[in-house]
Amino acid sequence: MIKNTKKSQKKNILSLEDVSISYGTFEAVKNVFLNFKAGDITSLIGPSGCGKSTVLRALNRMNDLIPNCSLKGTVLFDGTNIYDKRVDPVEVRRRIGMVFQQPNPFPKSIYENIAFGARINGFTGDMDELVESSLRKAAVWSECKDKLNDSGYSLSGGQQQRLCIARTIAIEPEIILMDEPCSALDPISTLKIEETMHELKKNYTIIIVTHNMQQALRVSDMTAFFNAVEYEDGDGGKVGYLAEFDSTKKIFNSPKEKTTQEYISGKFG
């Protein structure tokens, strides 16, 4: 078990305690202990199939939507285990928003894309103002302001992704989860989204899964490195585990684990 060694005044906003996630009988990731600090950007990195996206989706119960997916252990958010039977996953997702790998705007106008989430969350204030401030925070206002009534699909891929971020901000979650938000985008759009993330850090806690180690280095305060090992019974299947969790600086400059060193220097993955 790897402990968070960073001395910090920030409080834990989300904690994983001995979490194992399985798809049917296949165990995807096991025995994860992880503490996310409020106001940090934490990135989850690791080779394909190590379960980092699975862990991310577990944080706002998106895995509920995948048949046969089950979780053992506790995920504490705000002092509550979000996998408690009494917890309403809809309420969890309102407070922990998510941005996906593929830009997925609704087939509605740009304005409605933002307003939809706010409205279903019972927002009663000035909608025009909310739309503008959300688009501004996601750094896409200048591209959108003259065509708020156009379809969300009329934007470019990078703009669509920032629209999706704006949509998530509009419901004012406490945590924003991002599942490889830049993997479908070109470098310039990626840079813009990273700038957006730095802006958002002031108000939100961000957890991001990325395949791009430079990106992890550029944006995150903390980095969790996941790895996968073959099952002990050796039938070829792999199970993911948390190999190392530390400040991004330490992970990239002086990792404790040999596998971390090998992964960040590009020897595998």
């Binding site: 706002n60 998106m62 939507l65 048949p67 809809v90 309420e91 997702r93 309102r94 407070r95 928003g97 998510m98 941005v99 996906f100 593929q102 997925n104 705007p105 609704f106 087939p107 939809f116 989430g117 279903i120 969350n121 156009d150 379809s151 699909y153 009329s154 999706c164 949509r167 998530t168 509009a170 419901i171 979650p173």
Partner: protein, 297 residues
């Protein structure tokens, strides 16, 4: 060395030509019945179209001078199909939503899918006999026997599988990312379905529903057992619970009459039925293309 130029006499090229022509020939033969049927009806029926046709009641057969009009049958078809739609669309769309959105591929949903496929293959006369046994012969509907309402129920059984299937398939075409997006910002399942998934799939569902209606409107067999036929105007709500005429049954009845006037009326009714079904089909396609354009600006 063979020449690189195309050689007509080569056996593979001769064979290729032969099979191409054969398939074109078969395709032409396949389309011929449609062309002949439609042109024949357009010519024979089109000649009988008069303004009175739409306003008069049909006269009883035997009066060889004037057959009258088909107003009751025309209105009857509209009424019966509307009743069928009112029953089949909510139930069918609801069932489709269950299959596509809520079911998890367990035995229950498999059973429903299988049942829907079987229902789609059930001959339409069986639907008529079923409603006859359930409603007509038992007089369960306020003591009425043959009625427009029973006819609508029989047609709704025929529409149901089409509506369920197109809803199910239309919803399955909606990318999962859209559902995740909606759920990911805290929408409940039912908000997601009502506000995101259904509107996105609306085009394909609407097309399927319209085609289902068009199919039901032309059915004869189920109506013979349920709505029967009537010569009289539909004037009020109570008429729903009495025998009701329809274009399809009018064609069936009058085409068999020995009198020329009634036969002409049957031709006219065929004309109107074919034209309206064609219109509905074409309209649904135009509608589909139109919504497609507005959706992806």
């Amino acid at each position: 060395m063979n020449s690189l130029y195309y050689q007509k006499k080569l056996s593979r090229n001769v064979g290729d030509k032969f099979f191409t022509s054969l398939s074109v020939f078969c395709a032409l033969i396949a389309i011929l019945p449609l062309i002949f049927v439609v042109t024949y009806i357009l010519i024979k029926g089109g000649a009988q179209i008069t303004p009175e046709l739409f306003t008069l009641e049909p006269n009883p057969p035997g009066d060889d001078l004037d057959a009258g009009g088909i107003n009751p049958a025309l209105i009857g078809t509209l009424v019966i199909t509307t009743i069928a739609s009112i029953i089949a669309i909510p139930v069918g769309v609801g069932g489709g939503i269950y299959l596509a959105e809520y079911s998890n591929g367990g035995p229950f949903s498999k059973f429903i899918r299988f049942g829907v496929n079987v229902l789609a293959g059930v001959p339409s006369i069986i639907a008529g006999v079923f409603i006859y046994a359930l409603i007509v012969s038992t007089k369960i509907l306020f003591g009425s026997m043959y009625s427009g309402f029973a006819g609508g129920m029989a047609l709704s059984i025929l529409m149901l599988p089409t509506v369920i299937k197109t809803t199910d398939e239309g919803l399955k075409l909606v990318p999962n990312e859209l559902r995740y997006a909606s759920l990911g910002i805290g929408a409940s399942m039912y908000t997601t379905i009502l506000k995101i998934t259904l509107p996105t799939a609306f085009r394909s569902i609407a097309t399927g529903v319209v085609l289902g209606i068009a199919r039901a409107a032309g059915e004869t067999a189920p109506l013979i057992f349920t709505a029967l036929f009537s010569y009289y105007y539909i004037v009020g709500f109570e008429d729903l619970f009495y025998e009701m005429g329809s274009l399809a049954v009018l064609i069936y009845n009058f085409a068999l009459e020995p009198y020329d006037a009634q036969n002409k009326l049957a031709w006219a009714a065929s004309f109107i039925l074919v034209i309206s079904i064609l219109t509905v089909n074409i309209f649904s396609r135009i509608f589909a293309a139109f919504t497609e354009k507005t959706k992806r600006v």
